[in-house]
């Protein structure tokens, strides 16, 4: 530790969707390290402490060190010459970078998708069908006397969701904090989050939808057959008790995770839980909220929505945005072999996509922007090393409840930000294409420089 120490107060942790903005960071300026992160949870502490810039070239082409200029040129040529270029990722970068990325997809007539399509995409689809009664996290802190966590394990994935926003914190109308709240956890297994709950309800795997639908019926005063227990593993009396608590609380909340959205039923599950919360408003005030994972996946949803009208899975080939999950989602465009070039921004699909999609990535030119080496960067034709948002890069992120927060970077980085790379790329693409690519009947205009 050197003597050159700087304190950054009220910095923001972008590790998860909680986006806690009360980090007090102790920075060793000479060592270029964050040595202490007060207020951070165990995940946040690791996020800050383990950050150190790696000795990695700023750009690689075909695995070999390259100049930034050459890498931009190579990336631009890949995108311009592709017939079905896809852009994917975006959930771990700033809104400023996301806005440029969507602009590039529009300009080249590509397909834009975010990690939402593999996490809460079903919730986005359900939202379009039934709407949502929701709130900022501060409302839960100040008002929620009943909180039901469903299909998630915040104790391990979002530790401060409990302490800062929902369970133990005190609020204006919840003066005694934990004592004034009832906490329910619904999941298929007893996770480390279970001890936090007053009531733990264990559902048979893949039976969430049935439980939710039964609750909707009970809330509306309908009869449910006791055989529901054989189907779902939950006794009717337990469901009746929960329905009663939900109707009689003053301000209730259903917080759900990927344990609900990515199991059997998917957007039906999300739709059922959103509809349950809406139904409950006939009796009391009730909200629901997907618990989002990545630090700025909510920003990605917002940016893509305001620029295109749709939250993810957007294709611009016809000259305007079209939305079709299943058709324009990245797993699908890759696995079907349609995508012939990919730009992956702040995501590592090669580590978690289905094999067919990964195989396709190995066959086509891939451009990667990432602070670290990843499975995807290792198979990429062009890899940019970028600065880390929130630690090196300023800008805006949206917390899981759509609250926008400005970042306070603690350290400088030798690498450019995603936004800087994307802006340069956009400028070069505009030169090559002579402006936005406008579909001319069936044929693509030939790029000026390639002609």
């Amino acid at each position: 530790m050197s003597d050159n120490i700087r304190i950054v107060k009220d910095a923001t942790c972008t590790f998860c969707g909680c986006v806690c903005d009360d980090m007090d960071l102790t920075v060793d300026v000479d060592e270029k390290r964050i040595i202490k992160a007060d207020n951070a949870c165990i995940l946040g502490k690791a996020w800050f402490r383990e950050h150190g810039h790696e000795e990695r070239p700023a750009a690689l082409i075909g695995g070999n060190e390259a100049s930034l200029d050459d890498a931009i040129e190579e990336a631009a040529q890949i995108l311009v010459n592709a017939r079905f270029p896809i852009i994917y990722g975006l959930s771990d970068t700033t809104c400023e970078a996301q806005r440029v990325a969507v602009g590039i997809a529009d300009m080249i007539g590509g397909t834009l998708d975010t990690t939402t399509s593999v996490c809460h995409g079903p919730s986005g689809i359900a939202f379009e069908a039934v709407g949502e009664s929701t709130s900022t996290l501060g409302e839960l802190k100040n008002r929620a006397d009943l909180i039901v966590f469903w299909g998630g394990n915040p104790a391990e994935s979002h530790p401060r969701l409990f302490s800062r926003y929902t369970v133990t914190c005190k609020g204006m109308y919840i003066p005694r904090g934990r004592t004034d709240r009832t906490i329910v956890l619904v999941d298929v297994r007893r996770t480390p989050s279970a001890p936090v709950a007053d009531i733990f309800i264990q559902v048979k795997p893949r039976r969430d939808f049935e439980v939710l639908w039964a609750l909707r019926a009970l809330v509306k005063g309908r009869k449910i057959d006791p055989s529901i227990e054989q189907t779902t593993g939950v006794a009717l009396a337990t469901l009746e008790d929960l329905a009663g608590r939900m109707k009689s609380c003053r301000y209730g909340a259903l917080l759900f995770g990927m344990g609900l959205t990515m199991t059997r039923g998917r957007h039906f599950n999300s739709g059922a839980i959103l509809a349950l919360a809406s139904d409950l408003n006939a009796f009391t005030h009730f909200v629901a909220k997907p618990v989002r994972g990545h630090g700025n996946v909510t920003g990605a949803d917002n940016v893509v929505s305001w620029q295109t009208g749709f939250p993810f899975a957007v294709n611009f080939a016809k000259g305007y945005p079209r939305f079709n999950p299943g058709e324009f989602t990245t797993v699908d465009t890759l696995a079907r072999g349609e995508a012939d070039a990919a730009m992956i921004i702040a995501a590592d699909p090669a580590s978690n996509f289905p094999q067919a999609a990964i195989e396709r990535m190995k066959q086509i030119p891939v451009i990667v922007l990432d602070p670290k080496e990843s499975h995807t960067s290792r198979l990429a034709r062009v890899a940019f090393t970028t600065a880390t948002y929130g630690i090196n890069v300023a800008g805006t992120v949206y917390r899981m409840d759509d609250v926008p927060i400005t970042l306070r970077p603690a350290l400088e980085s030798p690498y450019p930000s995603d936004e800087q790379i994307l802006r340069r790329l956009r400028t070069r693409l505009r030169e090559l294409l002579g402006g936005n690519r406008v579909p001319d009947k069936m044929s693509w205009p030939v790029p000026a420089a390639a002609a």
Binding site: D10, G131, T134, N142, H285, N302, G309, Y320, P404, N436
Partner: protein, 551 residues
């Protein structure tokens, strides 16, 4: 910088300067209207064309958290109305809640050059500004929701009048907003804190506070007047949409006697009631509301006309959206913002055969036609609540063309036709000059935008040039030329250039120690840190501070 322009021989409609349809030349340089330009200036021959200042929308919902939720909610609207990109303009989608780029281009293509987003919670201010930055061509600003602010309520309840005013000024600065907005004051505490109830009387006690809506309204309007804001306060009254609400509206105006105040979408607040039915049917109280506005120069209003067809109800008035849900809303959004606001969204459709909808349509037109001062009863559909901004040209035709209006009347629910004075008596037709007042000169003056809404030397060179078609809808839906900040954006109905408009905001001075009053409240009750709350200048990009009277 764009080349100088000389617009030659157009028929000018510039009511602020007393010019009505006279042929004049206009010179433009460096984004402003100037007295003369050199011979090298580009010449636009406007012979036979109508020249007006660019349109100014005083109340619309185009950017920010609730708008984006409403946008995400309705993919079915977007796929029917796409907005393709060109070589230099971005693509997008339309429907009642267009994407940001489509919003900017479509306003511009209609001859509008300024639009004010009418309601956003301060916690969402960054979001509003990011979206406004992606809304091209037009100048824009937003009104910040203050009428249900818990800390302001606490200060008011404790009688800390000066700190209340200081906090209001601080908040306008912190959010980079244009004006304070009140929406159904007192309702949030009932909605969130008392099982979705609403507040119904101006003198009813607000849940959890020793306050009433009346006290809140008067305090904010007084403070805003004392601060000398260019647009002191923008009020969405209590009881929107409820039969019999005209009395609340009148009481609200009376409570603000002698204070400058703007009541928005007043059509939705001008309903009487017929007692004795299962649900009291609304009646028109347009005459009574008009009489009050006509005779009280401190009051201004925009109409909030209802247009038949698809709309999206999006409002900070959460109980209202919940009420609308029972009339066929199949999907519904509610979104609570801590200590600041509620929000409700519901896709909606106004139908001419439904009694209430037809009556709302008629009441809006009655308010326009009974108004004796077009400078104070200005144009709006509360986009997209009453109808999309894309329906403005049709609404202009309804006001200018009695025959067209009468044709429309014939298709309405007959019970409405029987009762409305539109059928006999209200035969007035708006002149082009009056249209110029209610769509640009009037809103600009009510907003305190001295450089907008007119074509005098020194004004912003925001100019629209229309072809003088007898069909006024055709005339106003596609001007031949649109000039923004002196730049020729649309020529011969086609986009020639892209443009980034400015954010308009206020920065009333406040005493720095007010932060020490606000900070402890934040540390205890907000979910973000005080230090991370105020919006900094990086979100403004091109912007303009509009001065208060004391600045």
């Amino acid at each position: 910088m764009a080349p100088a322009l000389r617009i030659v021989n157009g028929k000018l409609y510039d009511p602020a300067n007393g010019i009505e349809g006279e042929p004049r030349d206009i010179c433009v340089q460096d984004g402003k209207i100037v007295a003369s330009v050199g011979e090298e200036a580009k010449r636009i021959d406007a012979t036979g064309l109508v020249v007006m200042p660019g349109g100014v929308d005083i109340h619309c919902h185009i950017a920010g958290p609730k708008v984006n939720l409403a946008r995400k909610l309705q993919p079915e609207d977007h796929r029917r109305d796409v907005h393709p990109r060109t070589k230099f303009t971005r693509s997008g989608v339309g429907g009642t809640v267009p994407s940001t780029f489509a919003t900017g281009y479509r306003y511009a293509a209609m001859g509008y050059t300024t639009a004010m987003e009418a309601a956003a919670p301060p916690l969402g201010a960054r979001h509003v500004l990011e979206e406004l930055h992606d809304t091209p061509v037009i100048d824009k600003g937003f009104y910040v929701l203050m009428g249900n602010n818990v800390l302001l309520y606490q200060l008011l309840q404790q009688g800390r009048k000066d700190e209340f005013k200081q906090a209001l000024a601080w908040w306008l600065n912190a959010a980079k907003a244009y004006a304070p907005k009140l929406v159904n004051p007192g309702a949030d505490a009932m909605w969130k804190g008392r099982r979705n109830s609403n507040i119904v009387d101006l003198d009813e006690k607000i849940e959890g506070f020793d306050l009433t809506p009346r006290k809140v309204i008067v305090a904010i309007v007084e403070a805003a007047n004392e601060l000398g804001l260019p647009h002191p306060a923008h009020i969405h009254c209590n009881n929107l949409g409820h039969s019999g609400n005209w009395e609340t509206t009148l009481e609200t105006m009376r409570a603000c006697e002698g204070l400058k105040v703007h009541l928005t979408h007043i059509q939705f607040h001008s309903y009487g009631s017929v007692k004795g039915k299962v649900r009291d049917n609304p009646t028109s109280k347009a005459r009574e509301i008009s009489q009050y506005v006509n005779s009280h120069p401190n009051v201004s209003a925009d109409v909030g006309q209802v247009m038949f067809g698809k709309s999206t109800s999006m409002t900070a008035d959460a109980p209202l959206a919940y009420m609308l849900r029972q009339f066929g809303g199949h999907k519904w959004v509610n979104a609570d913002t801590e200590h600041e606001s509620g929000c409700g969204i519901i896709p909606f459709e106004y139908q001419d055969k439904i009694y209430t909808h037809a009556l709302q349509w008629a009441i809006g037109l009655e308010l326009f036609l009974l108004s004796e001062d077009p400078w104070r009863m200005v144009f709006s559909t509360d986009h997209p609540n009453g109808g999309s901004f894309m329906s403005y040209p049709r609404l202009i035709r309804l006001l200018m063309d009695r025959e067209y209006r009468n044709e429309q009347l014939k298709t309405l629910n007959p019970d409405v036709v029987r009762d409305t004075p539109l059928a006999d008596g209200l035969t007035r037709e708006y002149s082009l000059q009056e249209i110029a007042i209610i769509t640009r000169a009037g809103p600009a003056r009510l907003l305190g935008l001295a450089d907008k809404g007119h074509l005098g030397v020194g004004a912003d060179a925001d100019i629209t040039i229309y072809e003088n078609h007898a069909d006024r809808e055709r005339m106003f839906e596609a001007p031949r030329y649109v000039i923004k900040d002196g730049e020729l954006i649309i020529e011969d109905h086609e986009f020639r250039a892209d443009h980034a408009g400015r954010v308009l905001h206020v920065a009333p001075p406040y005493e720095a120690q007010i932060e020490e009053v606000i900070r402890p409240f934040f540390e205890e009750f907000y979910s973000i840190r005080f230090a991370n709350y105020a919006v900094d200048d990086q979100y403004l990009h091109r912007h303009q501070v509009v001065a208060t009277t004391s600045q």
